[in-house]
Amino acid sequence: MEHIPFSVGNEGRQVFWNAEHFELWLFLFTFVALGIFAYGIYRRWQMWAAMGKPEIRWDDTKERLKLLLRDGFLQIKTFKDPYPGIMHGLIFFGFVVLIFGAAFDATEFHITEPFGIAFLRGWFYLIFSFTMDLFGLAVLLGVLMALHRRYITRPDRLAYRGESDSTADDAIALLLLLGIIVTGFVIESLRIHVTQPSWEVWSFAGYALSKAFVGVPAETAKAMHAWTWWIHTFIVLGFIAYIPYSRLLHMITVPANHFMQNRKPVGTIEPIRDFENAESFGVGQLDEFTWKQIFDADACTKCGRCQDGCPAYLTGKPLSPKKLVQDLKTYWLEKAPAAVMAKKLADEPAKWPYLGKKWPILNTIDFIIDFLLAKTKGMPTGAPAEKALVGEAIELHELWACTNCMYCMENCSASIEHVPKIIAMRQYKVLTEADFAPELQLTYRNMENNSNPWGVGSHLRGDWAKDLGVKTLAEDPNVEYLFYVGCSGSFDDRGKKVSVAFAKILKEAGVSFGILGAEESCCGDSAMRGGNEYLYQTLAQANIEVMNGYGVKKIITTCPHGYNALKKDYPHFGGNYEIYHHTEILADLIAKGKISLKKSMDGVFTYHDSCFLGRYNNIYTQPRTILGAVPGMKLVEMERNLAKSFCCGAGGARMWMEEEGQRINNTRAAQAIEVKADVIAVGCPFCLTMMSDGIKDNKKDEEMKSLDIAEIVWKSMDLEEEPEPVEVCAAPAE
């Protein structure tokens, strides 16, 4: 091919240097590799499409493309964790650049050069060379980091209880990457060694490596170059062909999952609408998941971010979100072939499925491949083991260990939604089979009969406010805010103190508010998250009826569970209100100068993020702002905080269930002890109970305590005499 010779000022290189008569072969091999790739995707597609209920996750494409850009291309979720984030970023961005580079090469060689246009020349070529080497090294570094992490440091997240879950696939994928980069650099350095252009110092890595070939005769080097070139090409093509059959498929499933990620508020659970006619509720069989819920499992790269902060896993429970999703995937892989077959039969009922009218050639290929696979593996092609999804593939202990803390979903770099799957399977156990923990049955009966989990008489709900002059909406409906107190604030002795403190603050600040008193019902959060959707909807509807009856518009809660349920789930049933958590209100009152914090509070305070406040509702700053406004205190953070905070153990109906082994609340309290806190400040009554118990179990109740933000604020407002210590002798003995 004619071109102006390369020289200083017209720097460049001959694309496909030293590769003679390669084109036909390269095209042929590429065609085969792409064919294998496409066929793999097609077979996977069949499996994705074969099971699950319909669900639309491609509405509002524009917004979804933005999410794809953010999470798929910019890898924002992956970078939340520095080491693996950088590791993956080096490989990902490195390859993006290398692929663009290869595309430039190919474009010049196959498209523009035949027309006499060569653009990889001069300064552009030099920058191009430099960039390619730089990003090639980036990939190399990323791969080495990955190898080091997986095979040398071996963090627990790449295992389950010390048992590594690395497979040959993981090694093959990494070695293919390594092979591509290493052979790439060797090719480059051999070319530089032979051609010796002075400007190739810009290809700094290849240039440096070429020094290793000093003394090798040009002809030998050219032969070596030709061999390495083909090896490189085969690895690349092998890599492409391998994608659909390996963990590398995540290059497709994960971006797809980001595109299809949940766009509803965090933690929203779609309500069950038909109780009357359904025979089964929730998910008892794989097919009862939506196809997207199943697809989720296929997107999992078992990176273990979820497991790293899972309170159940870290306290020795059988649950690991990673394992759960992987078990689901394994189960799906067992079930899917038969489902694919069934679907084919359904499409063409009268004919042998393989040779139907639609796609006869593809169907024939499917048949041959299935046949060969069956022959080699001795595996029957359509009769998966009869194993129940709930109870066998996913064990009940795993299912019930989840606190719904949302750590897994918040931190998943593939936008997998674990919690709704767990709730759906719980729904099956509770609603369809009525087979669940006796203590939870008692809780539900109590909620049914007295609208609170403890079963305290429902007529006593408003009693905490008796002496405070707080009016009920029945007495005065013309108030700005409804203070929805919730069960803990109404019945639990500790919770009642929080309600009292908060009501006093509101009165002091001149906020117009009222309560529902005995007309209030349980919010139903524990019922819903424990799988009892029916009870939950009964309770929600009771509340909504009363609230709508009074024309309630704005609601304050002191409990994040009520906050979340009212805010996100009540709109499903016609309950639309502005919902505020008391920390939002308190922060606002302080900012507006409606209340002033005067009294100094000495000691070290740490704030424990409630999951339903933080991860669910992104309320991280207000509690800290409030505490920051209290004079005198020293605020320290625990190691696990904000979006990576550690759950107290009470969410997801766990509050009402027995906990085996190491307790989550004790573990969390120990984390507070580690930072030498005197007070664990919380914004949730469940956390309050759990932290108080945790402090006691750590035998620190003499020197430590747990307080709600409202209690701290009320104390610091310094409007009330310290109560006299309770008189030990009420009256002189007779």
Binding site: W454, D493, D697
Partner: protein, 325 residues
């Protein structure tokens, strides 16, 4: 016209039970107001000797049905015997003990006699010459004054409530044939399992001595078991103690354990978390022993002791032993 105040005397292991004397004393008091005689029915095997003892507590006449078929107690044999005596003599009032056996017998008699019965009475009185029985209802949330439209007016009396008063009367024994054919009985006691260990299930106990985190360890429960032994009580535990492995799960009182309503609940070293209160606050009397005077349990307690339980409990055991001797 029905006449006379009757009692059914209860006995076990060859001796009259204490409730029988309470019944006799109460019957005497009622009979003195109506000007009637007091009669007792004793049904059993070899019971003639003990029957005479009832005279000491104001019983004028004792009807005795003595037959091997009456031992051990079965509802059908005893109810048939008592019903026969009642039908033959037509008393106006019939008092029974509200013990396990007495309640069982009294209810069967209601069917046999087409009578009315007030169960588990805490007071009985005569108004206009007729029996009025006062009894707790709705687990003690209200009381009912029961009046009767049929004879005999029956009441079962809660044990340990009515005073025992000695009034010497004849206590003349009258034997009668109850006409019970042992072969025709459709129920029989095939085994009596005495509580060998003396362990009583918390769910069934009338008195529970319960320990929590304040017991400091499994060895701390020794003093509770001693107190329970004296009181005939069961030993319970809070969730904290069970979680710590100090006590078995079956002893756990509370939301996630057993919900109990004994006559007396003695909470030792239990702070009173709502989970615990939910399981025991319907107890009739609650005693709390805790050194933390701010423990929520004191809000529920009838009697609170703010002190070191390791000193109070042994002292309480000694005192109870004295009182109950």
């Amino acid at each position: 016209m029905a006449k006379g105040v009757w009692i059914v005397a209860e006995h076990r292991d060859g001796a009259l039970r204490k409730v029988s004397f309470e019944l006799a004393s109460t019957a005497r008091k009622l009979a003195d107001q109506t000007g009637d005689e007091v009669a007792a029915v004793v049904v059993g095997s070899g019971v003639e000797a003990m029957a005479a003892e009832l005279g000491k507590y104001g019983v004028d006449k004792v009807f005795v049905a003595d037959n091997a078929a009456f031992e051990p107690y079965t509802t059908d044999a005893h109810a048939a015997a008592v019903a026969k005596a009642v039908k033959d003599n037509d008393p106006a009032i019939l008092l029974v003990g509200a013990s396990a056996q007495g309640k069982d017998l009294a209810a069967a008699l209601v069917g046999k006699l087409a009578a009315g019965l007030a169960t588990d009475c805490t007071d009985v009185k005569i108004e206009d010459g007729k029996l009025v029985a006062v009894r707790p209802m709705y687990a003690g949330k209200c009381f009912g004054e029961v009046v009767f439209n049929a004879a005999p007016a029956m009441a079962s009396l809660r044990p340990n409530v009515f005073p025992i008063v000695e009034t010497a009367k004849a206590g003349a024994v009258v034997k009668f044939d109850a006409g019970v054919d042992a072969g025709a009985l459709k129920t029989k006691v095939v085994e009596v399992q005495k509580e060998a260990s003396g362990k009583i299930d918390v769910a069934e106990a009338n008195i529970i001595v319960s320990g929590g985190r304040g017991m400091k360890g499994p060895e701390g429960y020794g003093i509770l078991e001693e107190l329970a032994g004296v009181l005939g009580a069961a030993v319970g535990a809070s969730r904290a103690a069970v979680d710590a492995g100090w006590r078995p799960q079956s002893d756990q009182v509370g939301q996630t354990g057993k919900v109990v309503s004994p006559n007396l609940y003695i909470a030792c070293g239990i702070s009173g978390a709502i989970q615990h209160l939910a399981g025991m606050s319907s107890s009739k009397y609650i005693v709390a022993i805790n050194k933390d005077n701010e423990a929520p349990i004191f809000a529920k307690a009838d009697y609170g002791v703010v002190d070191d339980l390791f000193k109070v409990v042994p002292a309480l055991t000694t005192e109870c032993k004295k009182l109950m001797a």
